[in-house]
Symmetry: C2
Subunit: 267 residues, 2 copies
């Protein structure tokens, strides 16, 4: 089980999905005139996303839910693919799908070559991840667990579609990760890989007990030169309690600076 | 995508999971003295399950939720396995896992041998199905979509467990089936197999559109001698609207009496 943001791909300076949400809010603004007067939308449209995100978890959820709803699931998948094809990371100026971690790609391939089945367990949206997870990681849609908003079954001119609704369904973070794994997958993992406190419960649940051997791994972002350095004080991907628990629990902490020869794939 | 009850295994005279729930209510009764005075529990404990089930969907859900909650997910899986090992079908006097349909086992194997991935999409409980789906059908837990009650992550003496709560989470039936497939699996199926109106939306969603070839199949229970004959008036596995839509939609209707040489595996 692999966390995605900060474990398989870059999560700084913003979660990629949040950058997508902000672009989508701008694109949807003409059809939503009320947003000009209402936070957190107003700050986004005024060109001050930092002010919008200062509203914390509540503001972020509001932006994500509003920007991800109102379309069919098939249309949304296409919107995600189109955005990823053109968006560029502000520092590395590459498509985000080229800012996946090369050592993790090698690890995924190594595990699969040895009979393991690989899964993503992300706090990010499952409908945001699935359109590209197979191409980027070799992980098919049905092996992605993530957060979601609700959807409804509708007949549109006789054609059945699923429409995404502006209502939160499930947050696959913290204790939500073991619950999400149980609900979607139905087995306790053999190995779990994360990089933040949001992965703590998943790591604990994976490595508990002594009846069988399990592996817990934390990717530590300590390479400001080649990527970013952050842990305890970070607003994105905060790693604090899990770092303290790691040595006691026998989890492996990977230093991106010392242990990784290469961070991203060849351009 | 395969419906389970009535499509892969027997569902008469009671859904197997409901027979399990009734046995479990009896087993839990000493710890729940209030049940002796309260419907639908009272009728079950008085030896009149038919009266309990006359309360319809509401009574059935109450029995299922009460009988499935209060234990860890791992303990529940063991309870299901233990029950299946000893319970017998009232007419065929065989374990329920030996009342799976032989032609469907052959179809599952044929599809997998030809590169398809096979899934269960059941109105039944996902935690009830997963402990035995791989042994019975060759379908691993992560390829089972189903209904669920909520669960909570807890540390019990420092050990993380997931505890099943007496609260409904998701009903994977009717329009819930395409929604469940989208949420758990994230792709539209190539083929869908069902036997009741609860499969109608799944069949519609699977076979809509003309861009690619899709298959919809309905198993029709018309063999009272070797199994059961029921469709339009049945309380369990009612097949009415879907039968009317089938020819218009181009779905294949399989007659168990005429098309199946054998119903169950060799004893």
């Amino acid at each position: 089980m692999f966390d995605n943001d900060g474990t398989l791909w870059i999560e700084q300076p913003l979660y990629v999905q949040l950058a997508f949400a902000l672009d989508r809010i701008r694109a949807l603004a003409p059809a939503n005139p009320g947003w000009r007067e209402r936070q957190p939308f107003k700050s986004v449209l005024d060109g001050d996303p930092a002010a919008a995100l200062a509203g914390g978890q509540k503001a972020i959820l509001e932006l994500v839910v509003a920007s991800h709803a109102g379309v069919t699931t098939e249309a949304f998948a296409q919107i995600v693919r189109d955005w990823l094809a053109t968006a560029r990371h502000p520092r590395f100026l590459r498509p985000h799908t080229r800012l996946v971690y090369q050592p993790m790609l090698e690890l995924l391939a190594f595990l699969r070559a040895n009979g393991f089945k690989t899964f993503i367990v992300s706090g990010g949206g499952v409908d945001f991840l699935r359109p590209w997870s197979e191409e980027a990681y070799g992980i098919p849609p049905e092996q992605v667990v993530g957060s979601s908003i609700k959807a409804a079954f509708e007949l549109r001119e006789g054609v059945p579609v699923l429409v995404k609704l502006p209502e939160l369904e499930f947050i696959d973070d913290g204790a939500g990760k073991p619950l999400g794994i149980h609900r979607f997958i139905g087995r306790r993992p053999i190995a779990a890989f994360g990089n933040s406190d949001g992965d703590l419960e998943m790591l604990r649940w994976t490595t508990q007990g002594t009846r069988s051997r399990r592996l817990g791994v934390i990717v530590h972002h300590d390479d400001a030169e080649r990527e970013y350095a952050y842990d305890r004080a970070s607003h994105v991907g905060r790693l604090d309690e899990a770092l303290d628990v790691a040595s006691l629990a026998g989890w492996t902490v990977v230093s991106m600076r010392d242990d990784w020869r290469r961070i991203f794939p060849e351009p």
